[in-house]
């Protein structure tokens, strides 16, 4: 076990305040947008068509997508008119404001009742390899630290060693993982876990699911079944359908979200791998098309690398 930690050990050992760490993580890789902006928003530069075009390009390069980019530019124009900005350096704040206007309403943390009568069930969904299982490990750790009792259901019975991966995480964060054998019915695993959790008065059950492409009809039907079976034990469950997105994803994230939402009703989003150079500009495009709350961000592979989504912090990280 100790060796699994190799990579994260360096981080865990340092362990500065969580916020500093997050800031460090987020800014370790200055975003391309931030880099570009320092060129565009130079003091003394005039605000003209070329500038707007350069800005447009930077936003597009951050994966914001055409629609969100247009909206941000329109807002920026309005704002800078109001403020009578003439110097490019005066555009930082209006830009941040325009971005915040889009994204801030989506920053709604996941609320988990103190000691729920029945387990609070979180179903984790998303396409392949985005970081679902890792997010579950980190989330289980975070919730445990906050005093919740947590159980995990190894609902990915398809991918090779997905169960073992989750069991490693369970050991690492000291949380019980309910699992069956490879190839078992995922819905049955979820069912077992929730029953076990109810019996033991456990507060939270996090259900893993196999990564799947949202275009595969049968796999989406399987996911619906998992949700249905969970609902049979408690009609209010799952209490959260948490969809995980990779920050590096481009415009396809919109299609992913639409399909998963149609299938199982996504109630929250998590954006992973923000410690890379991709800064998740796709969230702006997403925030323009849905009102689904953004819950968490993933900033690394260590146990501590899951943070609550904070709109201002996110915009700061992206704009620099």
């Amino acid at each position: 076990m100790a060796l699994l930690r190799k990579k994260s050990q360096t981080i865990d050992n340092k362990k500065p305040g969580l916020f500093t760490r997050l800031r460090e993580r987020l800014s370790k890789s200055r975003s391309a947008l931030a880099d570009g902006l320092s060129g565009v928003f130079q003091a003394g530069r005039k605000i003209d068509a070329t500038l707007v075009e350069e800005l447009e390009e930077l936003l597009l390069m951050a994966d914001a997508g055409i629609e969100a980019t247009e909206r941000i530019l329109a807002d920026l124009r309005k704002q800078s008119d109001i403020k009578g900005a003439t110097d490019a350096s005066g555009l930082y704040d209006p830009l941040k404001q325009a971005m915040l206007d889009i994204i801030a309403p989506r920053a709604q943390p996941l609320q988990i009742p103190e000691h729920p009568a029945r387990p609070f069930v979180i179903l984790t969904v998303g396409v392949n390899g985005v970081g679902k299982t890792t997010t579950i490990g980190k989330l289980a750790h975070q919730l445990t630290q906050q005093g919740h009792s947590v159980m995990i259901a190894a609902g990915d019975t398809f991918r090779a060693a997905a169960i073992e991966q989750l069991q490693h995480w369970g050991e690492r964060v000291g949380v019980r993982v309910v699992a069956q054998q490879h190839g078992a019915d995922a819905a049955a695993v979820a069912h077992d876990a929730i029953q076990a959790a109810s019996a033991q008065n456990c507060d939270v059950v996090i259900v893993d699911s196999a990564g799947r492409q949202h275009t595969h009809h049968d796999l989406m039907e399987e996911l619906k079944k998992i949700k249905r079976v969970i609902g049979k034990l408690d009609e209010t469950a799952p209490h959260e359908v948490l969809m995980v997105l990779d920050a590096g994803t481009g415009q396809n994230a919109l299609s992913q979200l639409r399909h998963f939402n149609e299938a199982v009703g996504v109630t929250g989003l998590t954006l992973t791998k923000l410690d890379g150079t991709a800064k998740g500009g796709i969230l702006f495009a997403i925030a323009m098309t849905t009102e689904i709350p953004i819950r968490f961000i993933g900033v690394g592979e260590g146990v501590e690398d899951l943070r609550r989504f904070d709109a201002a912090e996110f915009v700061d990280a992206i704009v620099g």
Partner: protein
Amino acid sequence: MFEQLRDRLGDTLTRLRGRGRLTEENIAEGLREVRMALLEADVALPVAKSFIEHVRERAVGQEVLHSLNPAQAVIKIVNDELIALMGEHNDALNLAARPPVVILMAGLQGSGKTTSVAKLARFLREREKKQVLVVSADIYRPAAIEQLARLAHDIGVDFFPSTVEQKPLEIAQAAIDEARRRALDVVIIDTAGRLHIDDEMMAEIKALHGAVDPVETLFVVDSMTGQDAVNTAQAFNAALPITGVILTKTDGDARGGAALSVRHVTGKPIKFLGIGEKTDALEPFFPDRVASRILGMGDVVSLVEEVERASDKEKTERLAAKLKKGKGFDLEDFRDQLAQIERMGGLSGLMDKLPGMGGMPAMQDQTAARETGKLIAIINSMTPRERRYPDMIRASRKRRIAAGSGTRVQDVNRLLKQFAQMQKMMKRMGKGGMAKMARSLQGKLPGMPF
């Protein structure tokens, strides 16, 4: 969203119709839309821009006489250039080196490396009859080694065991030694996912690469990747002499612009596509398929080509002249058009090539082909006068035509109704383009499921 985009692209390009030569002006607008299409497909902006510039240079002044209209000519140039950029043909793996041939995988977290190791091993064993050994140098991700062990077991390929206590370098070297001892053909080394900005981890894979001197170093990239693909590809390519790319998860609906970005910045060929989670879901890469996918237009270009080849130019031109002179589109013309469609493999064959229309069940295919034949038979049973003046076809004539063509009166009625619609359409269209006509036919012919 993609449909909208397609429509937008279609609209702009349609406006370019009917001009004999591509000029700066008439392609500028079209290219702006192509730029948008590329961005929506996640082609990185700098790559999209340089690509567009390239297309502009190639397109200006080009004659469009041999194609049906300038719009299609632009699409064709865009498509040709996309294919050229992605490397005309399929680049196979270099397996000719002295065995054991070492293949090293590299890429970001979760891109599909481990799965691709198994797929590749299976591919090499089944298609190339190679004896393959796979090994995992991923000592970080929980259960990464177990994952590869399980996959190797499932496909019956040799797995070289490793543990998280070992160093990646030790693991790789031991595996290669083993392969040499056993005279195996290929060793595939899986590595941990890593961020290109993680200096420590990049140093690790550089050292690994230096020590094992792989024949192939494959960069594994997720087809859903957005604009950041340029940054990661650049960094990996700078750190390692990448020899090729595997583009994974193309079984989803990502447009895969990352393929173009990666190719553009690394200059390295895309060698394989991952097309599913199972170990047999690996395909050699063919640039044309990915090109049309990035453009989001189905096999629009092959449609253009087929139209060019199959359409009877003379008849098309005669029809155009007639329409221009204000003369009506009659049943004779309709029959010519239907015959052209039939030559192109039937309407369903045509529909298959149109965006979003692919994959019709074979059953409907046949029905549709039969329907086209039936329509032609009905028209053949008419007199020349009837073909010119369809209004004169009343009840008794309908019965005669039906009997003559072995159809029923309802069929004749349906044909006349379709013809009337077509006539209206032709009036609106003016100079007729086959592709456009075929598009407008959707849902208006029997046996078509739209």
